[in-house]
């Protein structure tokens, strides 16, 4: 196979980009590299990881059962702090869920071809994160059997949800987001599922994959419809990236609590969501690319690009933190000034400075190219970012509430073991789903990665005149 990709030759070396797919992989190599993990016998290591994830998932279920049996008194909520871990975890998980759609929709519309290597797993991660997020509003209502009241369903009480409440907008925003993400992810999967179907040797596997690939044959007409649908879905999903977390921020911003009542919240929440989402994608893919041997498809260059986005959004979030302080001072509202002074120097100063260092200070190290391309460094930093983003929500929720307007009711919020275990358990659900995804679904968008190979360019084999040129296609697979 050729080493000359044919696209960058002749341009200035500084403008040359690294190839999107390394290792001179052929079309068939890519199919093999991705498909084989769903076809071979399940490795023992997978079962090990799955068992750990299942134990965590069981923890979550036990905590939820205990909560249902006893009521929300098992949580650490107290009188001024009526919103604790449940909302913190909800916003945390929804935020993580933002990277997937950004990668799949916005980067698609902007023709960022590097998205192809990571979009499938990022979208899957999005779905699982939103599932984790959806648990918390569901269980935090004191009477779970009435949780369906969140939805506008006709009922004998002739009662409707409060359409003026941002909490209801949340229900719509997040459920629409989940539905659109799921459809988008599934539509993208269809050609790859058909690839797996055609490779399947067992009858049952062929039938199951045949069902989910919806009769895809790869005909020209199928591709035309598919690409049109994909483009339309991308256009539909793009506003959601911005709207969902804006609506989540309204939960706080629409209220009049000092520290919450801020117009900067929607953009700052969206930036934070993308920040944490990308960090989670980096955390997961750094491991997955190594374990599954797809380092040639998800290259250092891909990770570096994500790290640049982390640097960008982290700085935006940090800028928002500082702006909040400025506005608190500039507004001249003493309650606002107090709320922010209390954040940075009050009883929760430890949480505030954890947030500041993880979200604003540490990501600045990504200005250094060597660190941006260092696997161990980015792995640690991506985890720190998510710790920081969790603390951001904790700081916003708890510090504003624990010093409310009435000093006699001031209190200190401490989570209970159930609070902590429920949160830890939600990672069990997340990893259980993600492991199932890695095992049964092609974790990279095979057809899309092939489309960004230089060989996919119709003029690749010739010189623009339709002639077969110096680089004939490879016919023999180079990977078993």
């Amino acid at each position: 196979m050729s080493t000359d990709t044919g696209t960058a030759s002749g341009t200035h070396p500084a403008l040359q980009e690294e190839p999107l797919v390394a290792g001179n992989l052929s079309f068939h190599d890519i199919t093999e590299l991705v498909s084989r993990h769903t076809e071979k016998r399940t490795p023992l290591a997978w079962f090990g990881a799955f068992a750990i994830a299942n134990i965590l998932l069981l923890t979550l279920l036990v905590c939820i059962a205990y909560l249902f049996w006893n009521g929300t008194g098992v949580w650490g909520l107290n009188n001024p702090v009526g919103w604790g871990y449940a909302i913190v975890n909800f916003v945390f998980w929804v935020g993580i869920g933002h990277a997937g759609t950004l990668i799949s929709a916005i980067l698609f519309l902007f023709r960022q071809q590097w998205r192809t290597a990571i979009n499938r797993s990022a979208e899957a991660m999005t779905l699982f994160a939103v599932m984790c997020a959806l648990i918390f509003p569901g269980i935090h209502v004191g009477r779970v059997w009435a949780a369906y009241w969140m939805l506008p369903i006709p009922n004998q009480m002739e009662m409707w949800p409060q359409f003026k409440s941002p909490l209801l907008w949340d229900v719509f925003a997040v459920s629409v987001y989940f539905t659109v993400s799921l459809v988008f992810w599934y539509v993208g999967l269809v050609p790859d599922l058909a690839t797996l179907r055609d490779r399947a040797t067992k009858k049952l596997r062929r039938r199951v994959l045949g069902f989910f690939s919806m009769g895809w044959t790869g005909a020209n007409r199928h591709w035309r419809n598919y690409e049109k649908a994909y483009l339309l879905l991308a256009a539909l999903a793009t506003p959601l990236v911005l709207s969902v977390h804006s609506v989540v921020s309204f939960d706080f911003a629409v209220s009049i609590v000092p520290g919450w009542h801020t117009t900067i919240f929607p953009p700052y929440f969206v930036a934070g969501a993308i920040f944490s989402g990308f960090a989670m994608v980096v955390t997961l893919l750094v491991i997955a690319r190594k374990v599954y041997g797809i380092e040639d498809i998800i290259t250092i260059s891909h990770l570096e690009k994500m790290n640049i986005i982390i640097l960008l959004t982290g700085t935006m979030v940090g800028f928002a933190y500082i702006t909040e302080f400025f506005i608190a001072w500039y507004s001249g509202v003493q309650y606002e000034v107090f709320a922010f002074k209390n954040r940075a120097f009050g009883p929760y100063a430890w949480a505030y400075w954890t947030m500041m260092s993880c979200n604003l200070i540490f990501p600045q190290l990504f200005w250094i190219k060597r660190l941006r391309r260092s696997i161990p460094f980015m792995f640690v930093l991506s985890i720190l970012v998510n710790i920081g983003m969790w603390f951001e929500r904790f700081v916003i929720t708890v510090t504003s509430l624990h010093r409310d307007y009435l000093p006699s009711s001031w209190d200190y919020y401490t989570p209970t073991a159930i609070d902590v275990l429920t949160f830890v358990g939600s990672f069990g659900l997340f990893f259980t789903m993600f492991l199932l995804f890695l095992r049964f679904v092609p974790m990279v968008a095979i057809s899309e990665v092939k489309a960004v190979l230089p060989e996919a360019d119709p003029h690749f084999y010739g010189h623009g005149d339709g002639q077969t040129g110096a680089h004939p296609p490879t016919l023999t697979p180079t990977v078993d």
Binding site: P154, Q156, E158, M159, D198, R207, F211, M214, G215
Partner: protein, 215 residues
């Protein structure tokens, strides 16, 4: 490659989609009806310790409702009469009736008769008989034709939606306060405009906020 599914499988996606949408809608409607008091509570007619017939006492003899339920105009709760009230008459008539044995026993032992509550509201819903009765909500509107009941049964759902329907449009249900206890009352032709006038003059404003009943 041979086809994986036969041609008739083409119908499956259509049917599943229709089933999903139709099933979803059907579930909502089924729960709407079958989980509501209109289905679960209407027609509840427990057997009482004394086979007291409202049809006979009210329908034939013409007893006033307030003769027995004497607190209904001044209290939230429409009381069940004390044994004393029964004995006002039955101390002298039908003194040897088999059916009245529990009443006489109660009278002798000073232990109240354990009547069974027919119209039950949940603990978290407050209802005041006095407010409704004094403003012109007929007994019949909620309890039905008690004057025709051998055994008292629940005829209205007493669900929240049912309450709210009247609270939103009281002009469709109110009657003049002196007709409250009338059974089989027929509204005059212009009752809506008359009621609207009353509502305006007397400032009858049935609340529809949550804490009106749930507090």
């Amino acid at each position: 490659m041979p086809q994986i599914f036969p041609k008739k499988a083409n119908i499956v996606p259509t049917i599943s989609l229709l089933g999903l949408v139709g099933g979803g809608i059907a579930t909502v409607f089924l729960i709407w009806y079958y989980f509501s008091p209109e289905y679960t509570d209407v027609g509840y007619a427990p057997e009482q310790p004394v086979p007291y017939s409202h049809a006979f006492h009210v329908g034939e003899l013409g007893l006033q409702c307030q003769y027995c339920h004497n607190n209904v105009e001044i209290a939230d709760h429409a009381n069940i009469p004390a044994t004393q009230t029964c004995m006002n008459c039955h101390g002298q008539i039908k003194t040897d009736s088999q059916k009245l044995i529990p009443v006489r026993e109660s009278w002798a032992s000073d232990e109240p008769i354990e009547w069974i509550n027919v119209h039950m509201l949940p603990d978290y819903a407050r209802f005041s008989h006095s407010v409704h009765v004094t403003n012109g909500v007929g007994c019949e509107t909620c309890h039905g034709r008690v004057d025709q009941m051998e055994v008292v049964s629940q005829v209205e759902p007493l669900s929240m939606g049912w309450c709210i329907e009247c609270h939103r449009q009281p002009e469709l249900y109110l009657r003049p306060p002196d007709e409250v206890t009338t059974m089989g009352y027929v509204q005059p032709a212009d009752f809506v405009s008359r009621n609207l006038e009353r509502i305006a003059n007397e400032r009858i404003q049935p609340p529809t906020n949550c804490s009106a009943c749930h507090y």
